[in-house]
Amino acid sequence: MTALTVTARLPARRYLIGAVLAAWVLGHALLSGRDTLPLGGAELTPLHEGANEAWDTVDDNRNSNPFFLYFVNYIRLVLDESVRFVQALISQPSFGRPVPLLGWLGVVALAAAITYLFGNIRVALLTVAGFVSFGLLGLWAESMDTLALTLTAVAYSLAVGIPLGVWAGLSDRFNRFVTPVLDFMQTMPTFVYLAPLTLFFLIGPASATIATMIYAIPPAIRITAHAIREVSPVTLEAGASLGATAAQSLRHVRLPLARRTIVVGVNQTIMAALSMATIAALIDAPGLGKTVLKALQTLDIGAAFNAGLAIVIMAVVLDRATTAASRRVEAQRRTGREISAFFRRVEVTVALGIAAVLSYLSYTYVWAAVFPAEANIGSYVRRAADAASAWVQDSLAGFTDALKNLVTYGLLNPFESLLAGSPWWLVFAAGVAIAALVGGVRAAITAAVGLAALIGLGLWQDSMVTLAATLVATLLVMALGVAAGVWIGRSDRADAVLRPVLDAGQTMPAFVYLVPILGLFGPTRFTAIIAAVVFAAPVAIKLVAEGIRGVPATTVEAARSAGSSPWQVITKVQLPMARGAVALAANQGLIYVLSMVVVGGLVGAGALGYDVVAGFSQHQLRGKGLAAGLAIVVLGIVLDRVTRAAQARTDRLGVIKED
């Protein structure tokens, strides 16, 4: 019976959506340009001015308010000192010495020993190669500064994140409370909170650490909570039936079973911290990010790429090392313990012994302390990158204009005109109606509240312009994601070739590729879209590929034995069965695109992204920048919730139909 009503309702719903869209387009044709709630670049609303004032109040009371004296300032002190301590160890002159305690040789040896002991010999070698390449690129000190900041932030993130994650894993109530907070932390553009952070924690390592933590804690909490939750209920029940207390079952059952997943969380935390540690250069965070930013000022593509390369290498090393560590957690329990105990002790002694000797050398001798300047290939890398970028710009120039115009006139302008050029009430009504139709009542309420918030923030039109660009970018991301994802999912060779490229796309700071892309497309909205696609496509591609790989081999075999062509296998079996993964890819692609809105503002996207950037730079615009940041968060939350509701709904329908 249910199946009947559903199949009866399904086409009706499609028609309804069509009708809403038609009404919208018609309304737009008739009323275009009316009630669009525009706000000029330098104009402010009372809300923005109020935010400015609140800001001033904080600034004025920093030295008298007990909240600052007894709380904020202590946090700052502890964080500052922690970062400085690690810097003193590996990156900055310290203890009256002209060099840090550990020279390059010591750091390389120690890193290799640690990765060897927690991972395996292969990642240890990779680590050595990676760390030595920092020196070869001529960026040893900068790399170590970035590493120091990243590691400190990761240590604190885990110290805070894992316990909170355990709590969220155990308590539904806390989980419900913390989830939206985490969403907020992850979608709020960095630019928005960098300046307020310096307001509270001043310029320096503390603010940089906290900025990094804001971005890096959410994965730690989320993944830990997930790990704790997914522990098999059967095993837990077995523990309970033997009379385990809550503490015992946490210690003996939940944590050990969750350990492997928690290590994955550690990996994600490190990656997030690294990407933020480079952006924190905007508030004087030491390290590679600064090199990149400096290079951007003089449009020095070579130097930016050189530093970007170091960041990518660091990301790859840290990623592979933690992945190896998590594999080892798995492998450890398979090998018998008795045999390995002895070997292990030998291994530890030898590895640490060698590291200690080399560390001592690097403490004592200049050649082991300061990376030899003669061995510097940085200038070659810079020149090669410059040449490559020049070549690309010269040879693609004709083609890029055509592409830009095609997307801008064919897709972006109509979208933008419909969203930003229609009266606000029309967009509001249509938006809520569509949310209701695709996602149900709750999605509609979310959409209504969100859209109302955009009006309240005084940034309706800017939000609509940004939304249009976001949707177009997401479409492109998905087109790429499905095409490349299917390819990678079906071919191991494609996977082997493309995966490093994807990793680089994800970890290379956007500032590095902005300049060449600018050269190709000029300061336009399309440039911003391309930058977002470069950043977001890897995630989408990986997720789709994962989904395609997840389709059981037997199903594919069955389709093939029934005489399907490869195209039929893809469209009729693999993609439909990977539907969940594709939907997730769309959702994540959207979120990643949104996180690039601000970067887009730097290259011509205007609207919310520019508001945020300007708010970060201009005193009288900071309230507006804050509002624009919130508007981005609102867009993110609305889009996320609506797509997820729609996804849940199609899943349900799918199940009923298949019954």
């Binding site: 098999s232 059967v234 095993t235 837990l236 029940e237 077995a238 523990g239 309970a240 039936s241 033997l242 009379g243 385990a244 207390t245 015992q248 003996h252 059952v253 050990p256 079973l257 350990r259 329990r333 398979r334 018998g336 313990r337 008795e338």
Partner: protein, 336 residues
């Protein structure tokens, strides 16, 4: 009743859903209840007793409430209403602490999907219950080794669960339960996930263990032949309700309703029923000098004697003639 029952369950209800107390005592059908209150009554007014040393089997189709019932017994699932007397104490009144004591020392459970700890070796898995209640390491390993020997896993102490076959894993589950030396063992479909051959082997193992250690057991299954093979008495559930309770031959010989009849229809009745079920009074003039058999003899084992006798077989208990059986009764039984 021979002694005081180990377990005495009276009027037990378990309702899932919002404000479950409301649904207690309801007579609405499953669907009606769901529609009117949004609740599911997984166990409805079930009462039974388990005697010391008995193997008490609860049987029913999937979803009939067996798992819920057995979990109510140790309050892994909190009952909604009713009494559960364990050695005379009401388990439902026990506080957190006392309940934990009960679970640690007197009750133990074996699960369908084993519930082993993958990060611990077999020995540590078996010793887990002892560890939790705070036994010293040497002592708990000693005990764990004893139990492992009992279930035939000596030599696998240092293996990890995922290195063992399903049957061996369940032996570990069994050993873990036995290790705490409980008064009552609960099994929730322990062998459903195993291959038929292994299942048979494990059933025999349980029979052997029951003989050797003499524990009282509550055994859940959806497999009638398993129930008949192991159970001293069988409780049949449907939609949370008790449909019938009795010995194997009572259930097969006199099904309480169509549900049970359906259930037992595939069972070769001659393998379960005894002569008691087919004997009749001797007719006038029938010769009463045929062979003698016990009324509790399973029909299958009497076939040869009855068919080869040229006169009615007498069913005798303590020298008294209870009735007779002839080839006619046997053939009718088998033909049905």
């Amino acid at each position: 009743m021979r002694d005081q029952p180990v377990l005495d369950v009276r009027g037990l209800w378990k309702v899932f859903g919002p404000r479950p107390e409301r649904a207690v005592g309801t007579t609405l059908s499953r669907q009606e209840l769901k529609e009117t209150t949004g609740c599911v009554a997984a166990v409805r007014d079930v009462s039974f007793t388990v005697r010391p040393g008995e193997v008490f089997v609860v049987m029913g189709l999937s979803g009939s409430g067996k798992s819920t019932l057995v979990r109510c017994l140790t309050r892994l699932v909190e009952p909604t209403s009713g009494e559960i007397l364990f050695d005379g104490d009401d388990i439902r009144r026990a506080d957190e602490r006392r309940l934990r004591e009960l679970r640690r020392h007197r009750l133990a459970m074996v699960f369908q999907h084993f519930g082993l700890l993958p990060h611990r070796c077999v020995l540590d898995n078996v010793a887990f219950g002892l560890e939790i209640r705070g036994s010293a390491r040497a002592e708990r390993y000693k005990r764990a080794r004893e139990v492992l020997e009992l279930v035939g896993l000596t030599g696998f102490e240092n293996s990890y669960p995922d290195q063992l076959s399903g049957g061996m894993q369940q032996r570990v589950g069994l050993a873990r339960a036995l290790a705490v030396d409980p008064d009552l063992l609960l099994f929730d479909e322990p062998f459903s996930a195993l291959d038929p051959l292994i299942r048979r082997e494990m059933q025999n193992e349980v029979i052997r263990l029951h003989r050797e250690v003499g524990k009282t057991m509550v055994f859940i299954t959806h497999d009638l032949s398993e129930a008949l093979k192991l159970g001293d008495r069988i409780l049949i559930m449907r939609d949370g309700e008790l449909v019938q309770m009795g010995t194997a031959d009572e259930v097969v010989g006199a099904p309480a309703d169509d549900y049970v009849r359906d259930f037992v229809s595939d069972v070769p009745r001659s393998h379960v029923l005894t002569l008691r079920w087919i004997m009749r009074d001797a007719m006038e003039g029938e010769p009463l000098d045929g062979p003698e058999l016990d009324p509790d003899l399973v029909i299958r084992d009497a076939v040869r004697v009855v068919l080869s006798a040229d006169r009615p077989v007498r069913v005798v208990r303590d020298g008294a003639l209870l009735g007779v059986v002839t080839s006619a009764e046997i053939l009718e039984m088998i033909a049905r």
